[in-house]
């Protein structure tokens, strides 16, 4: 302790340009035998008004507490615990559940092992690099009150599983990064038509079966562009072979495989921010999954969006403050190709036109407002099982006014 204090005092004394905190000194590896713990977090509150149904929702969307601990220069712990919708009552709900109110979950909990300054391995519950928002989902870093719909329903953000991952940079090409991960697989019994593979995530919660998932990415920073391509292939049978056989499903590591591909690009310069992404999901044995679970699983789904924004404060404050006006167009078809056992539903053809403002008085704080116009095809009446008058009215074209506040520290 005294050694630590002494080093900090020495750092303060001789460093004129910047005062080194204890954390900085630990980071620099100067006090390698000491350990340090870091706490940070993020959160967001939303208000949404459905202009057609004349209803609204106000909720503390999520609060996430990050706790990290550095054991030494080679090994660190990263954890993120998330509470959705302010409280948990009556079971499991929210983004990761299906009933009642709220949700509490671990979004990440992994150990990071540094192999060298540019290469590391993670092990535990972590988020593979797939898409833009999955890994970079802090609410102060993207426009719009809600996360982009394509990166919710096609790429099931935030998608974390138990496994190991390798991250690094290519030595001879500055800006080119890679990642590779091996995780547990999906659970096709939980697939829900209209939600892609989202409900099939196992999220580190008693993941079952022998299914595995592998993913990889290439990420390239060049000039003012961030370019990425990533892919995932994994099995989706989350039951043991005996049960899978009885359901006439393939079992094993890559039984009933699901493949996800995406490419994305981001551009940022002189107050302009643009991003574009396209993604496709293929489910090879959807017909067999439907026979086993009757969940109308499609053989393929896809989606993409393009977004442009401009920071009106850029000339005066650069990026230290921002008032960004933005627009986004999203398109997705969540049952683009159906097996013979599938039931068509044009409501899965969806467009979202989003326009809004993001005000950032300081980095780490965002106040957001947007308008979302949702346009879909006609729902297949054969799939509507709730009788009139309990049936919720469906509007093929509906508008939503959204407000939100968010923080990150």
């Amino acid at each position: 302790m005294f050694i630590t204090v002494g080093l900090i005092c020495l750092a303060i004394t001789i460093t004129q340009a910047q005062v080194l905190t204890q954390e900085d000194s630990l980071y620099a590896g100067l006090i390698s035998k000491e350990q340090s713990t870091v706490i940070s977090g993020y959160g967001e509150a939303h208000y949404s008004l459905d202009t057609k149904r004349k209803t609204s929702e106000a909720t503390l969307k999520r609060v996430v507490l990050f706790v990290g601990h550095k054991f030494n220069n080679k090994i660190s712990l990263f954890t993120e615990m998330e509470i959705e919708n302010a409280l948990v009552a009556g079971g499991v709900g929210g983004d990761e559940g299906s009933a009642d109110k709220g949700n509490i979950s671990m979004e990440q909990a992994f150990l990071k092992f540094n192999l060298n300054p540019t290469t590391y391995i993670v092990a535990g519950l972590f988020i593979p690099r797939l898409g833009i928002i999955n890994e970079n989902h802090l609410p102060t870093t993207f426009n719009g009150v809600d996360r982009p719909f394509v990166e919710t329903l096609v790429i099931p953000t935030t998608w974390r599983e138990i496994g190991v991952g390798l991250y690094g940079t290519f030595k001879n090409v500055p800006g080119l990064n890679y990642s590779f991960s091996l995780t547990n697989g999906l659970n096709s019994s939980a697939f829900v038509n209209g939600s892609g593979i989202r409900n099939g995530r196992q999220l580190g919660s008693e993941a079952s079966g022998l299914a595995l998932g592998v993913s990889g990415s290439l990420l390239y920073y060049i000039n003012n562009f961030r370019l990425q391509a990533s892919a995932y292939v994994g099995g989706s049978t989350a039951v043991e072979k005996r049960v899978a056989d009885s359901l006439q499903l393939n079992s094993g590591a890559f039984g009933n495989p699901v493949a996800l591909y995406e490419v994305d690009a981001q551009y940022s310069d002189n107050g302009w921010n643009m991003r574009v992404i396209g993604s496709r999901v293929s489910i090879q044995n959807a017909a067999n999954i439907n026979k086993a679970y009757a969940n109308n699983t499609p053989e393929s789904l896809y989606g993409g969006y393009v977004e442009a924004g401009y920071n009106l404060f850029y000339k005066k404050y650069k990026d230290a403050k921002a008032l960004t006006v933005f627009g986004r167009y999203e398109y997705m078809d969540l049952s683009a190709k159906l097996p013979s056992s599938g039931v068509k539903n044009d409501a899965n053809k969806q467009q979202y036109i989003v326009a809004g403002l993001t005000f950032k008085p300081i980095r780490g704080i965002a106040i957001k407002a947007d308008y979302v116009q949702r346009i879909t095809g006609t729902p297949n009446p054969a799939l509507i099982i709730t009788p009139f008058p309990q049936q919720v009215p469906y509007f093929k074209s509906d508008g939503f006014v959204n407000l939100g506040v968010a923080y990150n520290f």
Partner: protein, 123 residues
Amino acid sequence: MAFMGAGVLLESCSPGLPLLKTAAENKTLSVPLNKFSGNLLVVRGSGLENDILLVKNQNGYKALNLKCTHEGVGLTATDKKIFCSAHGSVFDFNGKVVKEPALRSLTEFRTETTNENIIIHLI
């Protein structure tokens, strides 16, 4: 000076940023001036958790710790900016945040120049 004897290995891998491997001695890293040909040099000190980016500017040399101030992931330096591949933070060559989620500037180490070397003081 003791650190003058540090083993030095220069890897100049075009088109990448040049990388200099050296050993830290007496809480300092020594970079021979004749190894610094451009405006940017990545310095890898043995025993250090992260690389250091040495930036030549009008006022001399600036030594930035290539560790993201968000969650501590090692940073990727290019000839344009400094990027965090994990969560998207971006820093300029003054170490200042260009894009969050990082909120704090990069840690900067004091430097001094002798006739033959740039000395990076690690504390």
